[in-house]
């Protein structure tokens, strides 16, 4: 996979994961153009399209579009499954996930994605194992919590 974008129906980016080296400017341009193209498509249309020289696979879940750019030899149908698996993971983690969850906890969404895909490829094919790993990492984080309610430079509690 080259990149994955999550965006709302108004075209606001909620998550962008890039697996290829591109400058900020190039990323912005690609995102903007691709988002426009996909938003212009009608609901019943194919989930696959050729855009520039990329294969694009996208699917809409409620108010969010999940869009991946894959290589020529990649299997489009299994990419749809990957997208679906990611949505399931988010759903399990947040409990009936909605767009707001992803907005307010965007860093968590990234952590989950990074536990499912690595370098653009699936690293763990078991849903259970991915969720378990996230859980453990979260626990680890809590051992040295960042002070959510600190208002001045105060040392952490252990």
């Amino acid at each position: 996979m080259q990149f994955m974008l999550l965006f709302s129906r108004q075209g606001k980016l909620r998550l962008q994961k890039w697996y290829v080296p591109l400058s900020d400017k190039e990323r912005k341009k690609i995102s903007r153009d691709l988002v426009q193209t996909i938003l212009a498509r009608k609901p019943k249309m194919c989930s696959f399209l050729e855009w520039r020289d990329l294969k694009i696979v996208y699917k809409r879940y409620a108010s969010l579009y999940f869009c991946c750019a894959v290589e020529d030899q990649d299997n489009e149908l299994i990419t749809l499954e990957i997208i679906h698996r990611y949505v399931e993971l988010l759903d399990k983690y947040f409990g009936s996930v909605c767009e707001l969850d992803i907005i307010f906890n965007f860093e968590k969404a990234y952590f989950i994605l990074d536990e499912f895909l690595l370098g653009g490829e699936a690293q763990e094919t078991s849903k259970k194992n991915v969720l378990k790993a996230i859980e453990q990492a979260d626990l680890l984080q809590e051992r040295w919590p960042a002070c959510w309610h600190c208002w001045s430079a105060v040392v952490i509690c252990s």
Binding site: P21, M45, E107, G119, W151
Partner: protein, 795 residues
């Protein structure tokens, strides 16, 4: 010190901003606060602030001042800070940034961290944005992790190795042994990573590929386990056991089995099993089937297996899910060359997909349909394709048009069908065809001589309906110019008879010339066609001449040049006009002049420049006489003409006959040089003599030269000649050489008169002579009834 709000607060504040301006304000305030926080020493909220900055970055605002903070955070001992730091590195840094190098050391340290979640962070970041340098530095670390660590790390290390190999191909050799041993693992994640790694290694290195062919039996074993084994809840997706792993193994098998009999044999049974047993009611099953089909078609599989694969694709074509249909057509496109007959069986469904709503599906269907056209189905396929063309999305039009042309050319059942098809395309999608279409079609038409009448009638009718499609208009103009007389004939066995008059045709061409929709090239076609008609029609030649002369002052340089040259054809070179404008010979395909718009105009252009070079530039009278002497010319005097000084072509001066003869020889024309024109005295009184000589220019054109001399003892001044001719004859008097006749005939005055007698009436001229001598004015009239060397009855 500014206050720092929690992450959620900030997000809420940004979202509640009602305008872009307000949002910018909130963000600017927050960024300022974050910057201040970064500058401070360690505080508990660091990861917090970075997270806020990352959110702001995702909205599209600049955040490069956070890069160093990421580097610092990655180096922190706290997991929470490392986590956000690495996330920030993946979002804000890419390998092109200098700061990315700074994290190499931290990554190295974290790769050997005691805590696997810290290791995991480092592996993830390296695999996401590691540069070639970083990869080279850390490759051995990764290799170590591939061999000796737990499954959690092994699976990640494998994918990290994939990234390294993509960046630095040579390092592939390093990972091959470890990759091999990973295939024995039971953990699905590790297996998946191993298969991906091996795939990458084999794709890049043929040597490695050979080595890994030996693993085919192992891979087959693993697959069998997945397909047949009992239900494993951890990896099951809608009844398919670990579809992700299955698909990757199938893809690896494809690479290993390609062009290798033994390997293909070894996997034959397995593929058949997967193809038959996989449940195709859900997408996930179809994903596995799809990969299986791709593999079967790419390796040296048994014919039975191939048929099975193509049938699966056929079933896909009938699936309700549009995605599946699209996938099927993509795969069929790949094999339409090799398994043509198998794909032909599904032609009907594919053609139906031309009517699908989705543009991607339409595109695939178009490509496949064009590939499936053959001599036996050309008529029905073309019907469908033409129907498609009239309603297809604009981005597919030009592909469809050129595909149709190719198909028509290869399989046309008859020439008339071919011409009809091309005309149909030009009327529906004329704007999207390629430039070669016009000359190609013209060449096709000239070769089909029995259909000239039919073609020109059809094109004329098309022209009347619509002149916006440039290619069509160009071809139509060309045909009307070439075959205009067939259009006037009225009857035509293949089309309905229709009465077309010369005026109608000229009206049509003029409309094209004057329309703002016509491109310059189209107008050039129309002008040339109009000109050609001057030899094919009888009544309206004047109209043609006036059209052509109007364009002599057109702003478009190309049109102006043509018009001026055509004008010259009418005037000076009228005797050549018929030859120049006669029917074009049949064109050979790919002849050198083929792609240029061959028209009579081109031929004329080639001849004219020769003329210009030979023609003497305008000279005052005495110099002209000198020139005559140089040429050893006859007594004929040179008449500098009043020609408009058009740079492209100045009217060549009336050459003495011998020189004229030389000119004609230069051109290689067989025309006999005109005999020296006979001179006749038409007036002789009071010592003033006027002689006349004629030169025939064309069927109806005549140039008369009047020469006056004075053999009295006194000079004559203000000598003028006036002429009158019958109504239907056109007269143009050139400027006289002077108006002073010195005594004793020392010098003469000459004047040229150009006559045009298109109706071929009896040519008469009334000449009035007036002058003054010794202070008195004289005037006299004489009638000329016959002109030497020219009889009104034609040749």
């Amino acid at each position: 010190m500014s206050l720092s709000v929690p992450l959620h607060e900030m997000i809420r504040a940004i979202r509640s901003a009602r305008t872009q301006c307000e949002e910018r304000g909130v963000i600017q305030r927050e960024c300022a606060a974050i910057r201040a926080q970064f500058r401070q020493a360690d505080n508990g909220g660091r990861s917090h602030n970075l997270a806020k900055l990352l959110y702001v970055h995702m909205l599209g605002y600049p955040a490069h001042f956070g890069q160093m903070e990421c580097v610092r955070m990655i180096g922190s001992p706290r997991y929470s800070e490392k986590r956000v730091g690495y996330l920030g590195a993946m979002m804000l840094l890419d390998e092109k940034q200098d700061a990315s190098l700074l994290i190499t050391n931290s990554i190295k340290n974290d790769l050997s961290h005691s805590n696997q979640y810290v290791q995991s962070l480092a592996l993830c970041t390296l695999a996401c944005m590691g540069s070639a340098e970083m990869c080279r530095d850390l490759a051995s670390e990764i290799d170590r992790l591939l061999r000796a660590s737990n499954s959690f790390i092994k699976k990640k290390a494998a994918l990290c190795a994939v990234h390294i190999v993509r960046k630095v191909q040579d390092l592939g050799e390093l990972f091959a042994p470890a990759a091999r041993s990973l295939l024995t693992e039971k953990n699905h994640g590790v297996l998946h990573g191993a298969v991906v790694l091996i795939t990458e290694l084999c794709e890049r290195n043929p040597e490695t590929l050979k080595q890994f062919r030996q693993t085919v039996p192992d891979l087959v074993q693993i697959m069998k386990g997945l397909v047949i084994s009992s239900y494993s809840p951890d990896h099951d997706v809608a009844g398919v056991s670990d579809p992700f792993l299955q698909v990757r193994i199938l893809r690896l098998l494809r690479i290993l089995g390609r062009n290798d009999e033994a390997a293909s044999d070894a996997m034959n049974d397995l593929l058949a099993q997967v193809a038959t047993n996989t449940d195709s009611t859900k997408t996930v099953g179809n994903a596995v089937l799809y990969e299986t089909v791709l593999t079967v078609l790419d390796i040296n599989s048994e014919s039975g297996l191939r048929v099975l694969a193509v049938n699966i694709l056929g079933r896909f074509l009938l699936n309700n899910d549009r995605n599946i249909r699209y996938i099927a057509m993509t795969s069929l496109q790949k094999i339409v060359g090799t398994d043509h007959n198998a794909v032909q069986r599904h032609r009907g469904t594919i053609v139906d997909c031309l009517k699908d709503q989705d543009a991607s599906v339409k595109r695939r269907a178009l490509e496949l349909s064009l590939a499936l056209v053959s001599a036996s189905n050309i008529r029905s396929m073309m019907k469908e394709l033409l129907l498609f063309l009239s309603s297809c999305p604009p981005e597919l039009r030009s592909q469809a048009a050129s595909g149709i042309f190719n198909a028509a050319e290869r399989y046309a059942p008859s020439q008339r069908w071919h011409i009809d098809t091309i005309l149909h395309v030009l009327t529906t999608a004329g704007g999207d065809v390629r430039d070669e279409t016009v000359p190609n079609l013209i060449q096709l038409i000239t070769n089909t001589s029995e259909l000239h009448c039919y073609t020109v009638h059809k094109l004329y009718r098309a022209l009347l309906t619509d002149i916006s499609q440039q290619s069509l208009v160009q071809v139509a103009c060309w045909c009307i110019g070439e075959y205009g007389e067939l259009l006037l004939r009225g009857e035509c066995q293949e089309a309905e008879p229709v009465q077309v008059s010369e005026d109608d045709i000229l009206d049509a061409l003029e409309t094209v010339l004057q329309s703002h929709m016509s491109s310059p090239a189209t107008r050039a076609y129309a002008l040339t066609a109009t000109m050609k008609l001057s030899t094919r029609i009888t009544d309206n030649v004047d109209r043609i001449r006036s059209i052509v002369s109007i364009y002599g002052s057109c702003i478009d340089v190309e049109l102006q040049q043509r018009a001026v040259e055509y004008n010259a054809l009418f005037k000076k070179y009228d005797h050549m006009r018929a030859a120049v404008l006669e029917r074009m010979p049949v064109m050979e395909k790919n002849s050198p002049g083929h792609t240029n718009k061959e028209s009579a105009g081109e031929a004329v252009k080639e001849i004219q420049p020769v003329n210009i070079k030979q023609a003497l530039p305008q000279q005052p009278a005495n110099q002209a006489y000198d020139l005559l002497d140089l040429l050893g010319g006859s007594e004929e005097s040179l008449q500098p003409s009043l020609a408009p000084s058009s740079t492209a072509l100045g009217l060549p001066i009336h050459m003495p006959s011998t020189a004229g003869g030389d000119l004609l020889d230069l051109l290689g024309l067989e025309a006999t040089p005109p005999a020296p024109a006979p001179t006749v005295t038409v007036y002789e009184k009071n010592g003033v003599t006027v002689t006349l000589s004629c030169e025939k220019q064309s069927d109806s054109g005549l140039t008369v030269t009047l020469t006056a001399s004075n053999c009295t003892d006194s000079d004559i001044s203000s000598f003028t000649l006036q002429a009158a001719v019958p109504k239907s004859v056109q007269l143009h008097m050139k400027a006289p050489s002077g108006d002073f006749l010195p005594s004793q005939g020392t010098a003469k005055v000459t004047q040229m008169v150009v006559l045009s007698n298109p109706n071929k009436v009896n040519l008469k001229m009334r000449l009035r002579v007036s002058y003054s001598k010794q202070g008195s004015a004289f005037q006299d009239t004489v009638q000329i009834d016959s002109f030497p060397g020219f009889s009104a009855a034609g040749h």
